[in-house]
């Protein structure tokens, strides 16, 4: 710890942190724009300048480390003048399109200029008229709005290790675009949307499809059904003033009905189904000498990444579809048959925390196992919030409702899919049951939880269920989240494979976004580790409060197998619930 001062007031803060962070921790507000707690300090904007007592120089609070004994002056007339001038410069190159901007009301630049009380900009305006890049199904680039803060590039390169985005040009021609100035669709982009989630302004946004869904709902001859993903329920409330992590499942069901959806299903159920398929697939590989480790495939950005960067690892991928796609194919087959609506009369919408899901629904023809698109449109949490606001629904005061049968029940295992380690934990709960013949004594697998980038652990499972009583099976697993963390794990596996050694893990879970789906690219803006922790706590709370904690105990899932699918990995399951992968080039021309 070091003792410092802010404007003469003494504080004790941890060693090695930035002055900006120390300010946040001690309640000393230092205006900033380009800094983001997820990212390394980049020092681009120049708004967060402060002075160190005794020196006339200004330093950036974001890039300056606290030093014992220093007194940081966070405001004086010179600092205010400097910050205001820099802000005015940025505004002079930014289009005045606030009213029609996707970030209207949630724009960091807008907020800052409101705080600074900017009334007019004393400089000539110079807005670069650059075409938007609309090539990508998930995110769009609007370079005219870019303030060159660098967050998207750092996210894409450092956090996600994708390197789709780069700085192009220099001086006042600098812009963020895919390297080589190709379109986003031609770039290695994995559609995770973390660039959009970190963009402080409206320069990178998700593809907004709310109007498309409104138009679905206006078609009287269509039966429009919807599913909601695990992570949506702990984040949507933020859009309506609730704390991150507040569980609003029942209100979401209610809101979706008021928007006009005929049936409201829950992706948590198909998450339970995914566990059944994936755990069975895992045991099959384990007992028959199949390719191990098995790697999870629920995350579409991860699927895209692996197909591009680690195509040689495709045999390791679980063939199980993601919960969204499993639900989609069941809606247009099982539910269509059961309800009497023909598959062609059903429109299936998914509410996801994720931008990549917009890509996933068209990833390959496996996504049309019903003979038509299994999911017609995937909206992000932010888009759903927009629709609720457009409709004028008083979300906070909605009653709690229940999901519709037969695709609405879920267990605690299904819900934790939204957090890093959740898929692993859910799968292990069922794998344990399948191997040992009984449930885990304690369902919480702490080693899979938490924000460590790579989590590695072993679990011992008695093999009574496999007809070998008295013996134990030791399962080694790894959990990685944040795409940049996956490289080391993959390299370990490859090294062992090349050396002809036993694989370091049996089972690997990967989620592209830091913290898992709870901070997916389509979640409400403002994800930080603090917010992530609250959302994750919400997920675990939802799990703990559920009477059923294991996917194999889900009565609706049991009924599905009994009445429709047969058993996990059956021919029908393979037809509807499994998929194939293919190598893809980094750059498409």
């Amino acid at each position: 710890m070091v003792t410092i001062q802010f404007n003469g007031k003494t504080s004790v803060v941890p060693e090695g942190i930035s002055v900006l962070k120390a300010g946040t921790m001690t309640g000393t507000k230092i205006p900033s724009l380009c800094a983001h707690p997820d990212l390394k300090a980049w020092g681009a904007c120049g708004i967060c300048v402060v002075k160190i007592e005794g020196s006339p120089k200004m330093v950036r609070a974001c890039t300056t480390t606290v030093v014992e004994g220093q007194n940081y002056l966070t405001h004086d007339p010179d600092l205010v003048e400097t910050r205001r001038t820099v802000l005015e410069m940025i505004l002079s190159n930014h289009p005045n399109e606030c009213l029609t901007c996707a970030r209207n009301g949630c724009c960091e630049l807008q907020t800052l200029s409101a705080e600074f009380g900017i009334r007019d900009v004393p400089f000539d305006t110079d807005v670069k008229l650059l075409a938007s890049d609309l090539s990508n199904p998930s995110v769009q680039l609007h370079p005219s709005k870019c303030i060159a803060c660098g967050r998207c590039v750092i996210v894409c390169q450092d956090l996600q290790d994708v390197w789709a985005l780069e700085f192009l040009g220099r001086g006042d021609q600098t812009r963020m675009a895919p390297a080589g100035d190709v379109t986003l669709a031609e770039s290695p982009c994995i559609k995770c949307g973390q660039c959009a989630a970190h963009c402080p302004v409206g320069a990178i946004t998700e593809v907004d499809e709310t109007r498309k869904v409104w138009n679905y709902l206006r078609q009287n001859d269509k039966h429009v059904v919807v599913q909601i993903a695990p992570a949506v329920r702990v984040a949507l409330g933020e859009e309506f003033g609730l704390e991150p992590g507040t569980i609003v499942t029942g209100k979401i069901y209610a809101a979706l009905r008021r928007l006009g959806f005929a049936k409201v299903f829950d992706t948590n159920l198909s998450a339970d189904l995914t566990v059944m398929e994936e755990a069975s697939e895992f045991l099959q590989r384990l007992t028959t000498g199949g390719t191990l480790p098995l790697i999870t495939s629920c995350c579409p950005s991860w699927v895209d990444y692996l197909e591009k960067y680690y195509a040689e690892m495709i045999p390791h991928f679980s063939t199980a579809k993601s919960p969204m796609m499993m639900m989609g194919s069941l809606i247009k087959t099982f539910y269509a048959e059961k309800s009497g609506f023909g598959a062609k009369d059903i429109l299936s919408v998914a509410i996801m925390p994720c931008t990549a899901k917009k890509y996933e629904i068209q990833r390959s023809h496996d996504m049309s196992s019903s003979g038509m698109p299994d999911v017609d449109c995937s909206l992000t949490t932010r888009e759903l919030a927009r629709m609720i606001k457009q409709a004028g629904i008083d979300f906070k005061n909605l009653p709690e409702e229940l999901a519709d049968n037969p695709l609405g029940d879920y267990t605690g295992a299904g819900t934790i899919f939204g957090a890093t380690g959740g898929v692993m934990e859910a799968a292990l709960r069922t794998a344990y049951f399948l191997v040992s013949g009984k449930n885990l004594g304690k369902f919480e697998i702490e080693a899979a939880r938490g924000m460590e980038g790579v989590k590695v652990a072993k679990v011992k499972i008695p093999t009574d269920g496999l007809g070998a009583p008295g013996k134990e099976l030791e399962l080694r697993f790894a959990v990685a989240h944040g795409m940049a963390n996956v490289r080391d794990v993959m390299n370990q596996v490859k090294a062992a494979e090349n050396a002809g050694e036993e694989p370091p893990y049996h089972f690997i879970e990967v989620m592209a976004c830091r913290g898992g789906c709870i901070s997916g690219g389509g979640q409400p803006y403002g994800s930080t580790d603090e917010v992530r922790a609250k959302r994750i706590a919400g997920m675990y709370k939802d799990d703990a409060s559920n009477a059923l904690r294991c996917s194999h105990e889900n009565p609706s899932v049991q009924a599905l197998y009994r009445d429709y699918l047969g058993q996990p990995l059956s021919a029908k399951s393979h037809q509807l619930l499994h998929t194939h992968y293919q190598p893809r080039p980094l750059y498409v021309r």
């Binding site: 980049w42 020092g43 904007c45 120049g46 400097t82």
Partner: protein
Amino acid sequence: MALNQFCLVCGGTGCESRHSDAVYKNLKSAAEELGVGNQVQVVKTGCFGFCEKGPIVKILPDESFYVGVKPEDAHQIMAEHLVKGLPVEHLLHKTHGHHSGWGEYASQLYQKQVRIVLRNCGIIDPEDVQEYISRDGYAGLEKALFEMSPTEVIAEVKASGLRGRGGAGFPTGLKWENTRKTVSDQRYVICNADEGDPGAYMDRSTLEGDPHSVLEAMTIAGYAMGASQGFIYIRAEYPLAIHRLEVAMQQSREMGLLGKDILGSGFDFAIEIRLGAGAFVCGEETALMQSIEGNRGMPQPKPPYPSESGLWGKPTAINNVETLANIPVILLKGSAWFASIGTPTSKGTKVFALTGKINNSGLVEVPMGTTLREIVYDIGGGIRGGKAFKAVQSGGPSGGVLPAQFLDTPIDYESLTKVGSMMGSGGLIVLDEDDCIVDVVKFYLDFSVEESCGKCAPCRIGGRKLLNLLTKITKGKGTRADIETMRQIGFAMQRASLCMLGGTTPNPILSTLKYFENEYLEHIDHQHCPAGKCKDLITYSVLASKCIGCTVCARKCPVNCISGERKSAHFIDPAKCIKCGACYEACKFEAILVS
């Protein structure tokens, strides 16, 4: 017949571009042809500094100094001077129309110079390590390796008072000490040869004329700091310097002066060359390291300083070429000798690229503390064409413009900064009454805006705004409020830019607003450019009383806007005139009026 004479031919880029290589070859073949190949040694050297008058040929031992030598003159020099002992009068250097004297090497340019950095330039063959060694080359390294401990080397450099010649003037010894102090398994030495200021070429000339001095210095630095690897980051536009460095490195390695177990001391040091692609900002040390690492060259926040976490996160000392070239001499002659030159805070010498409206342009090395007046008038020979001195621009795009009142300012880091300019890397551009301050400043802003990396908002946006305002003023459309806006932007840029490139971009404006505000106001209030430079504010016309109708102007005019009969007064069509000034330059009768 004369015996044991030397014929030194400049092999610097400036002279080579004017065919000094052919001069060299012709001199050699003439020597053979005339049968004096054994008595006269023809040597291709580095830069003499007198680039404007190149190609240069210097004869030793009598120190005759030939300028503007053409390949076809070579035979005459060899036949007359070296064989018969008679000077070739028309090629001898003249000062103010007078011969500098037969047998006398007292060119004005060289008086008051003290050559430490350029000690070997123009004297030795840079592609022959033996010549370097014969002038005490590698003796400093030998002394360091066998007589001194690394900390003693650092102490010596600290005691010398040597400060960084790249611009900021950070004490070199302290930089080395900080780098050494950082615990690490690897440290790096980087020579910053990414010289980029417009008009500056002292680093290029040093590397072209004396590459071994930099290699020796880097090796000494490596020994002092415990680094085994060095990099020379040099711009790709310096092919001759790169070639000579490569030749020098090869020779040093062959002689055991570089590589494994140097001189049998057990110390290993390797050097690699990295080419820059021409971005000015890559001369900024953190951007330079990004570039070496293969990333886009953009400055990084400091701290951490390179001495703590530099190249690939390892402690790194980055020194400029000129700084390094001092090191071998300091070790050999001692810190006390070096510290005896210069001023209390700025020791040693500084090399300047002296250009502009001056009689003697070239590379000059003067002791710190020399006044601007001495450089401009004594060394530079005063203003060309007898015009009036207006100002001197120092420090390149980061520097400022100093009026006549500061001519007696002694040149050192603090004095220049105090009057609103800076040492910078050593450009000195002399302006006369025909130069428009606003126009000159606009030139520098144009450069800085072009070279901004675009990372930080103050530089990226502020520089462009400043340039736009300057352009507006030179078009006669400025307002007095624009001056305040420029001050506002400049204030913020100086304080909130990420690196010194952005932080110093407004300097040319702010320093001239201090000393030449009236000239800005003249443009603004009266739409008048006093120097007649700003095209939108001037018109060209023919003074009928002086025009004799020679038609020269009409023939020179690139847009054919001058009409008139032969032997009668001509007329310039103002609607078509592009104000290029060709007619003004061409007229011998002062009949073109600029108003």
